[in-house]
């Protein structure tokens, strides 16, 4: 691609991405109350969506070949247990990532 074509492609990508972010606000502008079902979704969606995001993070893990997702599951377990125990963000998140990186390189 030429430089102009790259810039155009980036423009298209920005536009499409912005569209996915703006669309709900265009459909339900602040000036009027969204339908009741949409208000209900607004309240409830953060819960299933975080569940979906966690699954999304693990989407490429293969349980049928070595190391059978062991580092991922151990990392998940580490973060859940350490966070319930200490409620310390750095210990859970940075500690969890360090634990995972270590396991995934050793195994």
């Amino acid at each position: 691609m030429t430089r102009a074509q790259i810039l155009m492609t980036l423009g298209v990508l920005s536009l499409a991405t912005a569209l996915t972010r703006v669309l709900p606000f265009l459909l339900f502008p602040g000036s009027k109350k969204p339908p009741e079902f949409v208000q209900y979704l607004g309240k409830v969606l953060p819960f299933p969506v975080i569940g979906m995001l966690v699954v999304y993070c693990f989407r490429n893990v293969s349980f049928s070949s070595y190391p059978f997702g062991i580092p991922e599951l151990a990392g998940l377990l580490y973060v859940v247990l350490v966070h319930r125990w200490k409620h310390n963000l750095l210990l859970s998140i940075v500690g969890g990532a360090a634990f995972y990186v270590l396991l995934s390189r050793v195994l």
Binding site: V12, A16, L19, T20, P24, L45, I50, G51, L76
Partner: protein
């Protein structure tokens, strides 16, 4: 003069209050941003493309995916469809932020355009501390996060070729952030049906459709499950 100063005080106070919440994203975005910049410049692209993408696309997974597309022949329609498919999950973020962003003024467009996975999950879970301006607090979170991403991508693109940098596995910071938010949501309420439905529908969709195509059916399934169990969910939230 006075009002200017107090206003700046309010902004700075909000920024200071927001910063600690963004630390996990700071680490994650810098590490992943550098990884992105390194790959991009490694494929022979000019360095300024990285900050440009970080500023105007600002969607991590899409940016990684389109590196191949940028290296291929010019095809804007394909790019458009790919960006829509990779990013459809943003629709849910917008719907859950309709209420939170309702009273925002001129900062609202920026808040909407910068709703990444990480910013969304922070905005869902953090509560502005007492005495801190709510809108400036949320804006600080969104803006800090984007700064980290722009910084990371730029560093990677400029300096990437100099450092030998194995980032494999570092992206677990993001996974850990989402798990932490899930745990905190879990502890906030004794009613777990919505999150359990979210996890099981997504897992089912992943099994049925595979890792490349599962998000859209998962979203549809979540919508259906939320509609189907609406009565139980609404009474569960009230108790």
């Amino acid at each position: 003069m006075m009002t200017d100063r107090t206003q700046n005080g309010t902004k700075f106070k909000a920024l200071k209050a927001a910063f600690p919440f963004t630390l996990p994203v700071l680490i994650g975005y810098i590490v992943l941003g550098i990884a992105f910049g390194v790959i991009l410049s490694g494929r022979g692209f000019e360095w300024w493309i990285a900050p440009l993408m970080a500023l105007f696309i600002y969607a991590g997974s899409l940016q990684f995916v389109v590196i191949d597309l940028l290296a291929a022949a010019f095809n804007p329609l394909n790019a458009f469809v790919m960006a829509l498919t990779v990013n459809v999950r943003h629709l849910f973020y917008g719907i859950s932020m309709l209420g939170k962003f309702r009273d925002m003024g001129k900062e609202k467009p920026y808040m909407v355009l910068t709703l990444t996975d990480e910013t969304y999950s922070l905005l869902c879970s953090v509560i502005p501390p007492e005495g801190v301006d709510r809108n400036w607090f949320y804006l600080s979170i969104s803006a800090l996060n984007q700064c980290y991403w722009v910084l990371g991508c730029t560093l990677g693109a400029i300096g990437g070729s100099f450092l030998n940098y194995d980032t494999s596995g570092f992206d677990f910071v993001m996974t850990a952030l989402f798990i932490v938010i899930l745990v905190e949501q879990w502890e906030q309420t004794r009613f777990h049906l919505p999150v359990l439905l979210g996890i099981s529908v997504s897992l089912l969709s992943l099994l049925l459709f595979g890792s490349q195509n599962f998000i859209l059916p998962a979203m549809a399934g979540i919508l259906a499950a939320m509609a189907l169990f609406r009565g139980r969910i609404e009474s569960g939230f009230q108790s």
